[in-house]
Amino acid sequence: MADFDAIVVGAGCAGSVAAYELAKAGKSVLLIDRGNFAGAKNMTGGRIYSHSLKEVFPDFEQEAPLERKVTHERISLMTGDSNFTIDFSSNDMLVAGQDSYTVLRAPFDQWLAEKAEEAGAETIFGIPVEELVKDDAGKIIGVRAGEDEITAEVVILCDGVNSLLTSQAVGAKKPSADMIAVGIKEVFELPASVITDRCQTNSDDEGTAWLYVGDATKGSFGGGFLYANKESISLGLVAGIEAVATGGSEPIYQMLEDFKHHPQVASIIKDGKLVEHSGHMVPEGGKNIMPELVGDGVMVAGEAAMMCINLGYQVRGMDYAVAAGMHAGRCAAAAIDKGDTSKAGLAPYVTALDNSFVMKDLNNYQKTPFFLENFSRMFNDYPALVKKAMNAMFIVDGTPGQPLKSTMMPLLKEVGYMNLLKDVRGAMKAL
């Protein structure tokens, strides 16, 4: 007899939801996280798109520690001394199921883990799982932490992008550095009303999601982000590890420092009190670096399975993790009921994901990483081009004005018409 029906490793978005579903189905489940509480080791941009969370917790709006509802989307093209911003808002962003919220992971993940506990899951915090336990046939039958071995019918790995366990479970290879980005972030405290004013939203419950392309990463593949929380601002960068390591013009931490001091960004965080400096990886290879999702006695969900997409104008991982955790938990419960937690018995999880937005998105965006990685014009030439074009339109210094056509055409020529066409076509296909 195993100690538990199921063990879930990692109490992030995927793990707590998987444990919640198992407990709700009446299974005995142990949720283990290496942080001293859920979220203690986690960092995100970020904002969570609510659709998948709502499926699991229909009343999450009332219960979850959400920061602000995103009512403004902003994208900036930035050079060292200029910034061009698009601001978008629409009522469609506010509709239930289409809405999104900024979150901080320490409070948010604790709430998620509490939901699992309330449903009956047992939890252990502050303990890293070091190894998976296998039987003679190679089936995973439990976990080892220190001297302790705990067994279960099925182990669900939700241990995130830097999983040290998926190689033992499903033979996952360590992803190469061109498929993973490094994220760096700082949190600045400010009064709620100041944030509301600076982000130009209507109330302290509404916020802005803001992405920056260009100088934020000094022309390297990647981008900057700024999210308005209730009483703080999350500011950071995501940049390709390989790109920065071998071709970056300065270290990632100096990029963040320069980004912070860019006049546009500095005006938003002015007088903010720095309270935390964090780092975390982002898988960008998508489908191309996904490991097998099931093995004998084991399932993999969330970023441990590299379920994340970075389109440049959109970063998503949390809604995939929630959905994958939900399917993993439900399918594990069904497999336990049937008494078959072999690879074949767990296969319905793979089918469920294939039929959900998770694998459909990951399939659709398979080409994105290769496109973005080779898209240096997006991070260099285009922000510079926009700056020149805007200067041409808005700067008046007494020299005789020119019709727009004669100022703009030479600028386009600098990048090359063919390049421009190629990039637009490429972007349409890959994004």
Partner: protein, 98 residues
């Protein structure tokens, strides 16, 4: 990469974080005499700026401020890192915001 003159003092920022440092066990270890070119990659990508070279090129690394992100493992796990593990029970960084 030869620049060592970056102005920002990341250690100061890290001091705002909450840590429980395991003095008895380094969870990340470099090989003896790591190559310059690999080490410089780590300088570029570690978000905590823990890999340093001084004006004379002398290399230092201090795991105490580690954010446990795994970036160094991805880029140099097969070259100049001898060991990369998570810190032991209850140890390491503890985010209050995240």
């Amino acid at each position: 990469m030869s620049r060592t003159d970056y102005t920002v003092n990341v250690d100061e920022f890290l001091s705002l974080n909450k840590y429980e440092v395991d003095e008895s066990n380094a969870h990340i270890e470099l090989v003896d005499d790591p190559s310059d070119s690999e080490f410089d990659k780590l300088i570029m990508v570690c978000p905590a700026a823990l890999y340093k070279r001084d004006a004379d090129g002398v290399k230092t690394f201090d795991y105490a401020g580690c954010l446990e992100c795994g970036t160094c493992r991805i880029i140099c796990g097969d070259t100049i890192l001898k060991k990369w593990e998570y810190p032991g029970p209850t140890m390491g960084v503890e985010y209050r915001y995240g």
